[in-house]
């Protein structure tokens, strides 16, 4: 380990021999540039925290950047271009639009800079590994919990953020397929899309509840959808089992108060940590798993304060 780091440092110093003499010390550690889909949301801050943790523990220098909103594809491309100009030892990348990023990713490949995809992955064979939540399995776990909580039979409905994003599709399909294959007495009466918007999701929930007076449970597939479901249930003063996804202050509060039965949380810290870990392995030429499952948990009133859950929840 020690010798490896020295070799790396030596290499860094040689490549930077020109103008970078004064930066040689900073180059002792491998530099990994992470380009994310965002940076100001709590979820991305948690990913960053995980990356920083790995950098400190495993010995790397990490920067973390992302555009203001997930629509700014060109800004993300600019960030990737700037990152490439810094000649990083590896790049971690969560693509907003894989196709738009391909020319730059090819440049990284030509420059022999390994690319690790994280969160949603990159639709291409350039990344050496992808560190992401297995959304299908996570949503299937939500379906199992829902089935337990409503007693294995009755009507349920899904409120999903959208039908185009990978997370939307996978969470919907993961939940639906599990219900159909393992819980035959449960019927899914509605699958609606609220854009992850709190207000819109609330209105849709109320419409579903009014259409199905005997509804026993609802699954909200991301933070905004889950909060919409809780709000709708509350405004119509109904009682049913709500299972959510992700965390956030409102969702945690609802679970503590019993208005939400429980929720799936991804492990954003794990996403950040494993991305940096995989990047370091790739830099050293060690084998890296092609698909790295960064893990997920189901949390409810009983375990919300346990340390391993608390660490991956955010406000």
């Amino acid at each position: 380990m020690l010798t490896r780091r020295i070799t790396l440092g030596g290499l860094g110093a040689v490549t930077l021999a020109g103008p970078g003499a004064m930066l040689a010390r900073a180059q002792d550690k491998a530099y990994i540039a992470l380009i994310s889909k965002g940076f100001q949301h709590q979820f991305w801050q948690a990913v960053k925290a995980g990356a920083d943790k790995a950098a400190a523990e495993l010995g790397a220098r990490v920067t973390f950047e992302g555009p203001d909103s997930e629509s700014q594809v060109d800004r993300q491309i600019d960030m990737l271009a700037a990152a490439l100009a810094k000649k990083p030892a590896a790049i971690g990348f969560a693509a907003l639009d894989s196709q738009a990023a391909i020319p730059l990713l090819r440049k990284a490949q030509q420059a022999k800079i390994p690319v690790i995809a994280f969160d949603s992955g990159v639709d291409s064979d350039i990344p050496v590994a992808t560190a992401a939540t297995n959304n299908l399995a996570a949503a299937a776990l939500a379906a199992d919990k829902m089935a337990d909580l409503i007693g294995g039979q009755g009507k349920v409905a899904l409120l999903v953020h959208d039908q185009t994003s990978r997370t939307g599709i996978e969470r919907r399909d993961g939940f639906t397929k599990r219900i159909k294959s393992a819980h035959a007495k449960i019927t899914i009466v509605a699958t609606e899309y609220g854009g992850g918007d709190h207000l819109k999701s609330t209105e849709i929930t109320k419409a579903i509840l009014q259409a199905h007076p005997d509804l026993k449970g609802m699954f909200g597939a991301n933070e905004g959808s889950a909060i919409g479901v809780i709000n709708g249930v509350k405004e119509l003063n109904r009682k049913l089992v709500v299972v959510g996804y992700d965390s956030g202050a409102q969702q945690k509060q609802a679970i503590r108060e019993g208005r939400m039965a429980g929720a799936i949380t991804q492990n954003p810290i794990g996403i950040g940590y494993k991305t940096v870990d995989a990047a370091l392995k790739a830099i050293k030429g060690q084998p890296v798993e092609k698909v790295i499952d960064t893990g997920f948990y189901y949390y409810d009133k009983t375990n919300i304060d346990q340390p391993e859950i608390k660490a991956v929840l955010y406000d």
Binding site: P19, L23, S71, A82, A85, K86, D97, A100
Partner: protein
Amino acid sequence: MSVATSKPSLLPGMRLSGARHRLLAFTSLVALIVIFSLTAPDFLSTANVIAILQSTSVNGVLAIAATLVIITGGIDLSVGTLMTFCAVIAGVVLTYWGLPLGAGVLAAIAAGAVVGLTSGTCVAKLKIPPFIATLGMMLVLKGLALVISGTRPIYFNDTPDFAEIAQGSLIGMVLPDVPIPNGVLILFLVALVASFILQRTILGRFTFALGSNEEAVRLSGVNTDRWKMAVYALAGGICGIAGLLIASRLNSAQPALGQGYELDAIAAVVIGGTSLSGGRGTIIGTLIGALIMSVLAFGLRLLSVPQEWQFVVTGAIIILAVYIDILRRGRS
């Protein structure tokens, strides 16, 4: 013709103070480049310089469009979403209808000009304040881009030449060591043409005159409405070019993007010394302003300045630039 008589007294003053400010903006640009090249080792690397130029091309073209409207004393908040709308139009023509490349290019520019003309009509004929008219247009276009595209990106996979508009490099074919992308050439070409229009044509003269004293121009018997509409239409067409550039660069029309880009464009205009109260401004200043914005962005990134602080620094520079503009006006 009071325009003719007021022209000599108006323009030399503008040129003088404009030149001073341009010099100042240019000095700031050089200073930033010197500072960054001393502190960030890779700042002057070919890859970074090309990335900066590439990134300037879209904002630069948008800022040129905004400059024209701002010189008339107006404002165009719709440049960002108009760019997106035009990109989507190109996507529809090329990918959905399968028409040849030239048709897509023409359609995007024509769509921009038509929308610009519509905004101009709202401002000139319906007397809606430019801020409101173009704010409304910004939202209309944002919505239309989403509706027409079905809220999904439209990819240009069937027309591989389309990506060459911004990503290809004619210069690189001659000089392989400096593969400056075509998008940058297009930016400079648009700047040259816009500069020529402003300095050498009657449309340019009326653009300045509208911003200096519209009433005087109108009273001298000029159909100001018509010239104003022409300026907005021209700006719209330029936004169409920006739409082609961004779509070509991303090899896709991204319908959700665009809002907020008008602010970057206006910031570049202001940093470049164009007065928001109209009547004064230059294209070269705007070009320098746009370069300052992207040099700052890339320089701060290269120095690994935390993203939160990048906003603070960029914002402070914009305020400083406007303050200098005020000082300059106080003096002249």
